[in-house]
Symmetry: C2
């Protein structure tokens, strides 16, 4: 094996400490260094042919075969349980352990540096993107990183990413509903202002533009950013008042439509599907309940239910595989975008055709 | 710091190997030793003042502040997601990391020995008890252990335990149903032959003995031990055929009762609640659906639903706290038994009284 220059070599040649070299080579470091020191260290590193990878590799000889999964959402939300289960399965096939971390505070990177954690998988959602410190650590090779569901990956991002093609899911759903002769969509949605929510709304509006004669009416659940933060803090426990008021809103909307047979309730969130099923079974049996995210009620049991289901476990498995690649010496950063799949008991009707 | 005698010191003095000392000091070891060897090693250990704690303590100086959670069930089963979330919350307050382990094979104890894992929490279910190797490792202080839901703890077991008082839950449920004037209970249950299932059945029969005029009819879901193993292996994905046949069985049973108003469907498993709700909403609206385990359908949304809910997250939190105690120098082994709580929207009716 060829010996590659290490941080230590650079430090010795530059007559500074190893940490100074590390700070000097790290663009986003918050430690203040004299500009001339920074420039000199960088010049020497370049002369010696030092690359961050060498550092990562030397650290990796102290490998613990452990991946850290940064999860800021509760496991009791089935969405995250499925992603984490997929990660666990994927890591197991690579012989890696899984440590679940509630956040990405300083200690995490410390453990990456001292070899207790080999790499990180950051599980995103809504507006969450990996903290800059994690991206920095990935850039200098301290902690190889894979993100899940963080709204895409910039071409020069120093990590790999798994994302969902939400737009595809929304288009497919609108086409499906139009094919079932649905004319009125009651869109049950929160007041949350996240990137995910904005994207979903924009995509739905575009898809509706292609579905002649289908109109959409918004039924707000009133769930705000603050409510969501509170729910997460309480391990996903939704306030009783929320359920009662959402049940009322959906019921009122259903009672207000002219033709329940050509109406569908379309939930942005899987969490509102149960309430929608209950409302429908009370005042409009047979009305289609659809959702842009999976949930627990099963299409095998509720025949008028249809989901655009995210491949959550697959996303976890693929992220684990990407992390394995990131840990390999010739690692490269990859992007995977997974489309949701329509989950329905009813046969697909070709768009534009009236069902027999 | 005082130097305390180690396993090695005992082995040297007794002229046996370190493993022999470990086996000799461990009551539950399955390794056969001549009784005189065992007695001699124990005498020498006593003379030297050796205690398992000393070894544990010396190992613990290489502490990683990491707890291993041995979970052989899928996280996509909400029951285990809730337990693991509780453990995560509890460990976080003690400043411990959580590593989730899919089994307790040799590598786990190796990691305990080399200080990468400080202690273990074993999540049980059905027939699962901690593997003897884990109990041995706990006995000699290599890996402090806390079990969850393993059917109780022997008085001399070398670990702590959190269990559920299933009998209390079953009694409370029968009393509740009798108080609601239920005369016929359709008991939806699997064919699984686990300890948990046998206990549940025995407790229900005892509770029924105290509820005059209430009769129980078994509706089998046909779920066998093999089916359950297959479901677990597929991350909790239940076969479509199972749902359809269970829906049929429950529907048939409901159509066969004389008075739906005094009938309740009682599920052993939370997994059958959704199917029961669907059957009831089709052929017997207003019939009570009850379950001896929690599930996702919410009592806030389905007014005729009642659960005996296990305090899953609390069990996880308490197990994490017990592990912290087990890691302390003056550790003792404790048992906690948590009762389920009745989860219902309806006000409790005193037993023996007819609701107004």
């Amino acid at each position: 094996m060829m010996t590659r220059p290490t941080l230590k070599d650079v430090a010795r040649r530059a007559s500074v400490s190893v940490s100074t070299v590390s700070y000097a080579l790290n663009d986003d470091s918050h430690v203040h260094l004299a500009p001339e020191t920074r420039a000199r260290v960088r010049r020497i590193a370049k002369e010696l042919g030092y690359t961050p990878n060498a550092m990562a590799r030397s650290l990796r000889t102290r490998s613990s075969r452990t991946a850290g999964v940064v999860l800021t959402k509760p496991l009791t939300n089935l969405r995250y349980a499925a992603i984490v289960q997929g990660i666990a399965n994927g890591l197991a096939t690579s012989g890696l352990r899984m440590t679940v971390l509630p956040d990405a505070t300083a200690g995490v990177l410390e453990d990456c540096r001292n070899g207790m954690i080999d790499g990180l998988i950051f599980v995103g959602h809504d507006d969450a993107v990996p903290p800059p410190a994690l991206v920095e650590a990935a850039a200098v090779g301290v902690a190889p990183l894979v993100t899940i569901d963080c709204g895409g990956r910039a071409a020069d991002a120093p990590h790999s990413a798994v994302d969902f093609d939400y737009a595809h899911g929304a288009r497919e759903m609108i086409t499906h509903l139009a094919g079932r002769d649905i004319r009125t969509i009651l869109h049950v949605r929160p007041e949350v202002s996240s990137r995910a929510e904005r994207d979903r709304q924009a995509t739905l509006m575009r898809a509706l533009g292609h579905a002649d004669g289908v109109t959409m009416r918004v039924v707000s659940t009133g769930m705000s950013d603050e409510d969501l933060a509170r729910t997460d803090a309480e391990d996903g426990a939704i306030a009783r008042g929320y359920l009662a008021s959402t049940l009322r809103s959906i019921t009122d909307a259903l009672l207000g439509v002219d033709d329940p047979d050509t109406t569908a309730v379309l939930c942005s969130w899987g969490a509102d599907v149960e309430t929608s099923l209950r409302a429908v079974s009370h005042v409009a049996p047979g009305t289609v309940v659809a959702a842009l995210a999976g949930s627990w009620p099963r299409t095998e049991i509720w025949p008028d239910l249809v989901y655009s289901r995210l491949p959550l476990e697959e996303a976890g498995r693929r992220a684990a595989a990407l992390l394995s690649s990131e840990l390999a010496p010739d690692r490269e950063h990859l992007s995977i975008v997974l489309p949701p799949a329509l989950d329905t008991r009813l046969p697909e009707t070709p768009p534009g055709r009236t069902p027999a």
